[in-house]
Structure formats: C-alpha cells, structure tokens
C-alpha cells in the first residue's frame, strides 16, 4: 500500500526567549469531543428532522398497530383491486390505495418499516462489533496477525457487496429477516475493520497508551479502557452512514427476489409486485419506492450530521 510520508511539522516550536505567549482567548469551558458534538447536533436542523423521522420509523417497527388497524396481508381483490389512493382519508386503510392483490398499501407501508429498520440496525450493529473486533486485533497486535487479517479483509472487500449478497442469499430456501441480516453482516464488515485498524494504529502510538503499557496494564484493559474509546468516533461515523445503505440493500435484494419473500412484508417486495402495474397504477410502485428513499435519506442525514459533529476537521 502506498502511504503518505509523514508530514512532520517542525515540532520545535517552543517559544524563544522573549517570545510573547501565543495564547488564544481561553475557551469558555473545556469540553470533550462528545459533549461538543452533542452541543452541535442539538442545533442542527438536519439532525432534528432526521431523528424525528427515525423515531417515527422506530415506533412503526415495534408498534405498527398504533398507526393502522388494517392488516397488511388482508387481500380483497373483488372490492379493492388497484383502488387509487384517497388522499383525504388520512391514516385510513384506503389512504394510499390498494395494490394488485387488493391489499391496503398504507398498512403494508406501516408493517414494512419493520423489515427495513431491523435489517438496517441489525446489520449495522453486527458489522460494527465484528469489524471493530477484527480491526482492533489487527491494528493492535500488528505483525503476522495484522497481515493475515488484512489479507482476509482484502478478500472480502474484493467481492462486490451486492453480488456477494445475491450469491449467499439464493442458497437459502427460507429467507427470514435474520438470514438477511447475517448474510449482509457476513459481507459488510470490511469497511469498519479498515477504519478501526487505522484508528487503533494511530491511538496505539499516543503517549497515554504507551504510559498505560509502561505501568503494566494488561492488554485487554488497554484495548477496552484506552484504545476503544478513542478509536470509537471514526467507527461510529462510518457505521451511521452505512446504515442507510443496508436499508437500501435489503430493499434492492427483496426487489430482486432474493431478499425477504412473501408472506414477509417489505417495501422492496412491494416495489417488485408493483412493477407490473407501472403503466396503469404507478402509485403501487411509487409509494413504497418513496418510503424506501425517505427512510434511507433520514439515516443518511442523521449520519451526515453525526459526522460533521464528530469530525473536528470539518468545522
């Protein structure tokens, strides 16, 4: 790998005798990276809007009954076949119309949130744990362990994500949400591992880690108490931004017919069934599509805001 030659700035900046102290105005109060980030986030409208949307989606995930009394699987072809939306009937089963099988689109939207959110959050959590673990081990121990794990990361990185997911998922007959989560996590951990490895290598050389080592702290303690907390910020940034991508991936895979399958309720599946009606009833396709996009957008905005708050370089 090519590396940047260390741009070593001249460190001997100690003021010469007779120098006026180069002290800037004192900060009002010393603040940590995290409280500083929180201070920024609370004032960021993007963050507020996206967290409100995410909160709404979370409620939909765990309590869909609060939003609709209709069932997403009740099909009434005779009554409701491709019935167009009734925009005035807020939150009623016919609000967003009915699909080609006479099912309430609104109910399917509400119940479909579950698949998207579970996959998005589930994959992100697993990928973060797995990637951080592998990256930390590689970065901290170095040597042959690092070489081995880095090559392993390269191998997984070399497989395009969507292609790998397609291959893994087609082999499963019964694809539940958990299978999809495991498959995506199995393929997706490489980016976090690389970030974690880089962060650990940087932190490892910090004086306070060297000091902890010199004082005889155990490896486990150094990793958990000193290295992990300080390598966490870049990992969290990458993870939050990736979350939206996993939601899009689930929808895409379900759309391709290798993600979730009926009778599961998923927006990707609904787009897939809606595509036959693209010409005569475009709403059956557009509404779930828009829902996927809004959800991905919420998490992207959320991730963007978190990154801006945590990355002091961008201020």
């Amino acid at each position: 790998m090519p590396e940047k030659t260390a741009e070593k700035h001249v460190t001997d900046k100690a003021p010469a005798p007779g120098a006026v102290a180069e002290a800037g105005p004192a900060p009002a109060k010393a603040r940590s990276l995290w409280s500083d980030a929180w201070h920024d986030l609370r004032r960021n409208p993007m963050f507020l809007v996206s967290s409100a949307l995410i909160a709404l989606l979370l409620v939909m995930t765990f309590a869909p009954g609060l939003f609709t009394s209709a069932s997403p699987r009740d099909a009434d072809l005779a009554e409701h076949y491709l019935q167009p939306p009734n925009w005035g009937h807020f939150f009623a089963p016919d609000w967003l119309g009915y699909d080609g099988q006479g099912r309430s689109i609104y109910a399917r939207i509400v119940y479909g949130a579950r698949a998207s959110i579970l996959v998005g959050v589930g994959v992100t959590v697993l990928v973060t744990i797995l990637g951080t673990f592998i990256g930390m081990i590689a970065g901290y121990f170095g040597g042959w362990i690092d070489s081995l794990l880095s090559r392993l990361t390269d191998v997984f990185f070399g497989i395009p994500f969507l292609l790998g997911a397609l291959v893994v998922l087609t082999t499963f007959e019964n694809r539940t949400v958990w299978v999809v989560i495991l498959a995506l996590a199995f393929l997706g951990w490489t980016q976090i591992a690389r970030v974690a490895r880089g962060a650990v290598i940087t932190v490892k050389q910090a004086d306070y880690v060297v000091a902890a080592k010199a004082l005889g702290a155990s490896t486990g303690r150094i990793l958990m108490k000193h290295i992990l907390p300080n390598a966490l910020a870049p990992i969290i940034v990458v993870a939050t931004i990736a979350l939206g991508g996993y939601i899009a991936a689930e929808a895409t895979l379900s759309f391709l017919g290798v993600g979730l399958a009926e009778p599961a309720v998923s927006w990707g599946l609904d787009v897939s069934t809606g595509r036959e009606q693209l010409r005569n009833a475009p709403f059956t396709l557009i509404i779930p599509s828009v829902m996927v996009s809004i959800t991905v957008l919420s998490f992207l905005m959320f991730g963007d805001a978190v990154r801006n708050a945590l990355d002091p370089k961008l201020r």
Partner: protein
Amino acid sequence: MTIIDETADIPAPRGSEDHTGPLLEVRDLHVEFHTRDGVAKAVNGVNYSVDAGETLAVLGESGSGKSVTAQAVMGILDMPPGRIPKGEILFRGQDMLKMSGEERRKIRGRRIAMIFQDALSSLNPVLSVGYQLGEMFRVHEGLSKKEAKAKAIEMMDRVKIPAAAARVNDYPHQFSGGMRQRIMIAMALALEPDLIIADEPTTALDVTVQAQVMDLLAELQREYHMGLILITHDLGVVADVADKIAVMYAGRIVERAPVHELYKRPAHPYTKGLLDSIPRLDQKGQELYAIKGLPPNLTRIPSGCAFNPRCPQAQDICRTDIPPLHGVTEQDGTELPGRASACHFWKETIHG
C-alpha cells in the same frame, strides 16, 4: 503613475519614481470579521509607514491584528467574512483599496511580496519547487517554461540552497524546514519587489536555523534596497534587523519607536511587560515576569484602553477613555523623533 509595466526587463527604479514620501503608508485602517459570534474588530485604526530600504517590525501577540493588517496590505484577506470599513493603504502614494482587482493582482508578487510563516503548508505540495518559483517569471514576465526554470535555479542559488540545479524538480516535502523557508524567500524576491512583508518568517524553524534565515533575509533586503515589514511576536528576532518597531495590541498600535530606544525606555506598560518577560542571565534564580491575563476577545474589546484589565498601572481613566497615540518627549519637552505611545500615563512609564 501606472502600475502596469509588464515588459520591463530592467528592475523598476527603486525609491521615489514620481512620488516622494514613504513607500507604503497605512492610514487609519480598520478591518472587521463578521462571524457567528458577532463582529470581531481585528484592526481598529492602524497607521504606519515604511520607506525603501527600511525595516519596520510589527510586534504583538496572536490576535493583535498584526497579520490581518499585513493581509489587508497584501490584498489577501478573505472577504467575506473580512471587511475593510475604513482606511487607506497608500503604495507609492496610490490608495490600493481603490484599485481594481486586476491592478492589485499586478502589484502582488511583483511590487509587494509576502513570506509566510509555515513554508510547508504555504507551498503547494503537489508541484515542484522549481515550478512554483518559475511561475512568478512565467506569469509576471511571460518567460517560457525553460527560461523560468533557469531563473528558478538562479533564485535558489541566490538564497544559498546547495545543489540548486539538482533540486529544482524536488517537491516541498523533500526539503528541510530551513530550506523550505529559503524557497519561500526566493519566491518572494524573485521579481525584486519594492516591499516584502514577512509574517513570522522564522517561527516554525529551529533556533539555530532561525538566525541563518533572518540574516539571509536582512542581507537580501540591503542588496535590493527593499522596504521590509517584519511581523513577529519574538522580541529577540527584532533587535538585530529592525529599524523601527510598532507594538500592536487588540488591533491598535500602542507604541511606536526606533528599535534601540524601545528596548532602553519603553513608553507603554504593555511593551514594558513584554521586555520584562525576557529571561535574563543576570536575574538567574528570580521568578520570570509574565503579563497576567489573556489577550482580549475581539468581539468584546474592553472599553477605554484595551489593555486596562491586564495593566499593573491602570487607573479609572483607563477604563473609560481610549488613549490617543501621544507623541513622546524627553522630560524637558524635547521631542523624541519617531516615538509615540498610546498610554494615558506614558510620562510615568518612560520617565518614572
């Protein structure tokens, strides 16, 4: 007088031209920055002048406005957020603030050049030093690439970079800090400008290298008979090279004096504090003096004299009335040429 002299092969005549008086004169300059936290008044009515062949040192802490003033002279202030609500910057008698962008661009680099503090970040990392040096000749004198490179090597030789011809295609990161600063100097001197502004040229360097670079700069200045504005926070650097000193605090000049007089008899408590904080061999074992407190926040400059919260001599008047820049005289009333102090109690400070 027109500034455009694109085809001049001979260096432009130094000194007066049609104009008599100082080479550069800054009059009542104000600069403010509009930020989220309010308006920061970085420069609040600065006056100074430099003649050809003369060295003016501008001394002050960070935030005193010394660099901002220089950037305003150079025309490289970020505007917005920066703004110049008031003032004149006369170069050879012409107000540069009233010139068009193109006229100012032609002065930059050619008539007034600047040396920055951190040569590593101030040089473009992905272009060779030869290219960056040669650019001056290509843009301002229309030389070909080849001629420009030959000139670049010549300039590198002049600032005493060993094996210049071999190193002309190297990149900034391949040079040591001192050598990089020499390249900055070479770039500034390339077109033999009338005025050089050096913004803390040696701060980022090792102490041993600092002296070499400073000597080189002084030597070249004498050779070309240029005006030099040396911006620094380091009193040690100033003593050897400067002719006169302007001490800045919170965007104002608080004291002005010929260099040796300032060291002998400061007329402002701030200057006095600065001088007292220099460690001295004959006071070994004693506690080193330090000016208490911190520089003021530029969005909320204290009323009256900006230095009053940190001043050991502050009286009530200091908290209410802004002191003007008084001419400083001997006890018997004879004027001290070139001296001024913006302190209500300058008499007590210099004579007491």
